[in-house]
């Protein structure tokens, strides 16, 4: 195994460049180093001007996503040895505006996330003295995988629909809406229906399936979206046949 590997890192410095370029850096190739370690080495030892996001280094915070050799990856969970002898290209997550170097602008997602109301909505709160809202293991299994989402944006980066039309609500926002729709303690499905069943909601998805393959936490946003298509279609049929039965 060589003792160094070349990282080709996308650079975008708005004060001096019209569009991104690449800078190459040689970093130590160690068995226990992930791509993020390589970036930190560059920042600490070679070029302090490089900008990128990171925090936990353990696949929890979801902030270190980047495009590594063309694939959306968490740089803290992607080993450099997998790309030996290199070079390894590291670019910002695709489909997002770039602020600087590897840092992308995520306000669009944050706005969409709020629209789907990703929190427990209760029609009536039970009194505190009645204790917790209990769930069976089966009820927990219904939504647990969707609750693993860390908002890392790898799914948006992998989704060509979002790349072509940024109005699309997107995989993580819909998966997180479903996380609460599938929760036995939640009564808010009808409140999310309007946002989710719009053309730029679930119907924008053409089921490419790359979001589920890109997810580092085993969430299946593509499945969540297709399941909701069935729910929305059934709701539409019901409202057509029984308009008096709707809320």
């Amino acid at each position: 195994m060589p003792d160094q590997i070349t990282l080709r890192v996308a650079r975008y410095r708005p004060e001096q460049e019209e569009e991104p370029t690449f800078d190459e850096y040689d970093v130590p190739l160690r068995k226990d180093w992930v791509v993020l370690d390589g970036l930190n080495y560059i920042k600490d030892e070679l070029d302090g001007t490089l900008s990128y996001r990171w925090s936990c280094r353990m696949g929890i915070c979801g902030s270190c996503g980047a495009t590594v050799n063309g694939e959306p990856k968490l740089t803290c969970a992607t080993f450099l040895t997998a790309y030996a002898p290199g070079p390894v290209s590291i670019e910002p997550l695709a489909n997002f505006p770039i602020i600087r170097d590897l840092v992308v602008e995520l306000t669009d997602f944050m706005n969409k996330l709020g629209k789907v109301k990703p929190w427990l909505i209760r029609e009536e709160e039970q009194p505190i003295e009645d204790g917790e809202y209990l769930q069976t293991p089966e009820q927990l299994d219904e939504y647990k995988q969707f609750s693993m989402c860390i908002n890392c944006m790898l799914c948006y980066s992998a989704c060509p629909v979002y790349g072509l039309d940024s109005n699309f609500l997107g995989p993580a926002a819909i998966a997180l809406a479903q996380r609460y729709n599938f929760d036995s303690r939640d009564d808010g499905e009808h409140e999310r229906l309007t946002v989710l069943s719009q053309p730029e909601g679930i119907w924008g998805c053409t089921y490419v399936g790359e979001c589920s393959r890109a997810c580092p936490k085993g969430v299946d946003p593509a499945g969540a979206i297709q399941r909701y298509k069935l729910t929305a279609a059934m709701a539409a049929v019901k409202s057509l046949l029984m308009p008096w039965g709707q809320r």
Partner: protein, 133 residues
Amino acid sequence: MSSQLGYARLYKPKVRLLWWLSRRSYLLFVLRELSSVFVAWTVVYLLLLVRAVSQGEAEYERFLHRAASPWLVVLNVVALAFVLFHAITFVNLTPQAMVLRVRGRRVPGRLLAVSLYLALFVVSAFLAWLVVG
């Protein structure tokens, strides 16, 4: 792109025209979408066949004669390949989109897909028996 968020200047990457060639999964997805055209053609062609049968033997013979023309044979072979691709991907994706419960227990996705393949096989065998047998 000028920014309303206080950044000096955001760079908005453009999607390339041939984005669907950049990854195998994107290409397969586009082919799956394209297969709908061939599914539609197959339905129209079968309706034309039914119409020819209903209009008597002479019309049916004319239909068969036209069907034997090389360009139509090539078109239908390509259509068959796309229809099979469409059916296989449809069945493979169904368990992801559909949760089936029997007596409160979730039916495993693999079992759902196998059941659909079995149904496809039974219907195909019945049609083959109807036509050939």
